[in-house]
Symmetry: C2
Subunit: 343 residues, 2 copies
DNA sequence: AATGGTGCTGCATACGTATGCAAGAAAGAC
DNA sequence: GTCTTTCTTGCATACGTATGCAGCACCATT
């Protein structure tokens, strides 16, 4: 009823105790008698009192806010991850402050600076790169950072990714054994570790079977760029009979271009394999063969690592790579005698 | 270099001025001489000082945090809106704290309570309903709330929606004039204003042409439920020749069920119309005829309304309904002589 | 009864910032 | 030159909470 919010002092007065007592009742693990606790909680309930998280953070030095920097939510992988991260963090008493960033360094750095203004306890960056300058700044301020679905060379930050190298290698093997002759790759942005690792793993896999990459284009993680790459590839005399696309989001654009612009059949004329296994990949329209990034486990690892560093139980940064299975669906020819590891 | 962050007092000492002076330099509109400003900014830069937003909020009573409550990000409409909201708010100096909520009232209320703990300046709820109890609580605490893409009867809160009634009516008209005889509706959750308004508008539109709804099922905004509804409808003797689906997300599930489970052609055998116009709807696989919710304008209106109330320039709550065009694509028969309003 | 220990509680202070007030400086008017 | 007005600055205090310290009460042990 009262216009203003009640604070701990109001509660203290109503319960006839000191302000410290109120604080202790709302501090888990503090020393309070049962009687005291009851009195205070009663008064608090009557006034609708709840502790002010911001004021609390001022003195504890903990805001219980995690900053999340993310570049774009168009690729379904990220909203999905955001949702899971938010839920996992909520369970442990933290919440997410969202920052959209353009993918260039400047943009990210500026945004991270704003993040720090909020005294966040930790930072998760989803598929964006940050400058070394800012890295040292975070380290100086003692703010843990975890890179999600991206790593960065020579940077002493925790990173959680899937095993992109191994995953792409699996795909190469799958396509080779499927009898494809001209295998192309539309890569993830070469400026990202994820894009580079997948490309490297894919090349390594082909090499192991003495094959060479027929053609390779940077798709920049963009549906449009990937579609344009397809057009380019199919103008040439020797057209690919298989394409490994750097993520599902681009793969959908590639399939649409193949089917609707070029009138080709997938996988009759061309096999397509993606990477991520976003929910859309399982829809029958696409039914995309793809390598699953186990987002549940990636999120778990991210949260564990981050909170470990925040709460001081884990000391150093770590690089975590999580293995994912190849999900065989209908967009790529299945090799004879292929045994599905998904089961 | 120093382990601890610099505060305004450190800056003051280094610049040889008072702490208040530092504060004023970083407070837009405060009275400071040019010389003072330069000295302070120099010292601040040397120490890497930036004001602590949380401490500031304690005294100003403004956190510059907006709470966003959202139920699910699977429907592409919401990540898209989230991104746009975040960008629009950032421009005006606010940031978004995200809370995922299950769609039942209890879940939402609990989450809103947590939100209030963070002293947010305002709240945006995306397609979730909140209890009257909590509504009055927010009002008592003086925290403005804007409902996004959802309204609530008898609740004195601002709400921004598209004109669902008029939009659905347009669709009814479009289908009738397209010569469809048995027009079905897979509705959005009847517990939501959005779902109800679209259904009511659709029925009204049919009635205007003396038609009746052939069959109507609640799709609960779920892809699976909507697909099951399709199966149900096509088991009957009299099968629909057109379906208006309560949003695009369900419409995709409906189309998949029609094409892949039942082997039907869209729009040859059945016309399908959606609602939202998410990016996916424009992809050639779906090429969905749908009513566009103008998310840019909805976001603008939401931000304007919310900040208007926060900054005290706008007094009362308002209900804003934004008109959207019918985007005619390839999933529904086009009436002879139809003039596209999209242009 | 005296001693030691344990469990609660209140007092006082600190966190980092903004702002009303009054005093000082500068500038203008005559 | 004096007086008034406008700017600029520092002092002191407030925001709402957590926590070290000391004191108190209570109980158990000797």
């Amino acid at each position: 009823m009262s216009a203003e919010k009640a604070n701990s002092l109001d509660v203290a007065r109503r319960a006839g105790v000191s302000q410290s007592a109120v604080s202790r009742v709302f501090t888990p693990g503090a020393s309070v008698s049962k009687k005291m606790s009851e009195r205070v909680l009663k008064a608090a309930a009557e006034l609708g009192y709840r502790p002010n998280v911001l004021a609390r953070s001022l003195i504890t030095g903990r805001s219980r806010i995690i900053g999340l920097v993310v570049a774009y939510l168009e690729n379904q992988f990220y909203p999905d991850a955001l949702e899971k991260l938010s839920n996992a963090l909520k369970k442990r008493g933290y919440h997410i402050l969202v920052f959209m960033a353009s993918n260039d360094r400047e943009g990210v750095d500026q945004v991270m600076q704003e993040l720090l203004d909020y005294q966040v306890d930790g930072i998760i960056t989803a598929s964006v790169a940050i400058s070394n300058d800012l890295t040292t700044r975070c380290k100086a301020a003692g703010i843990p950072v975890v890179l999600f679905n991206r790593d960065q060379d020579g940077v002493k930050l925790s990173a959680v990714t899937s095993d992109n190298y191994a995953g792409a290698k699996k795909i190469a093997d799958f396509l080779v054994r499927g009898g494809h002759r001209r295998i192309a790759h539309i890569a993830g942005w070469a400026g990202s570790s994820t894009g580079r690792d997948r490309q490297a793993g894919f090349r390594a896999g082909l090499k192991q079977s003495s094959r060479k990459l027929h053609v390779c284009v940077d798709g920049m993680y963009s549906r449009e760029v990937a579609a344009a790459a397809v057009h380019q590839m199919f103008k040439k005399r020797w057209k690919p009979d298989a394409i490994f696309v750097g993520n599902d989001h681009m793969a959908f654009g590639v399939m649409d271009a193949l089917r609707y612009d070029l009138g080709l059949d997938v996988p009759g004329d061309v096999s397509v394999v993606g990477y991520d296994d976003v929910p859309l990949a399982a829809w029958p329209t696409y039914d995309l063969t793809t390598l699953r990034q186990p987002s549940n486990r990636m999120v778990e690892a991210t949260v564990d690592t981050l909170l470990g560093q925040i709460e001081g139980t884990a000391g150093q940064y770590k690089k975590i790579r999580i293995d994912g299975p190849l999900i065989v669906r209908g967009t790529a020819r299945i090799p004879d005698g292929w045994v599905d590891e998904g089961l």
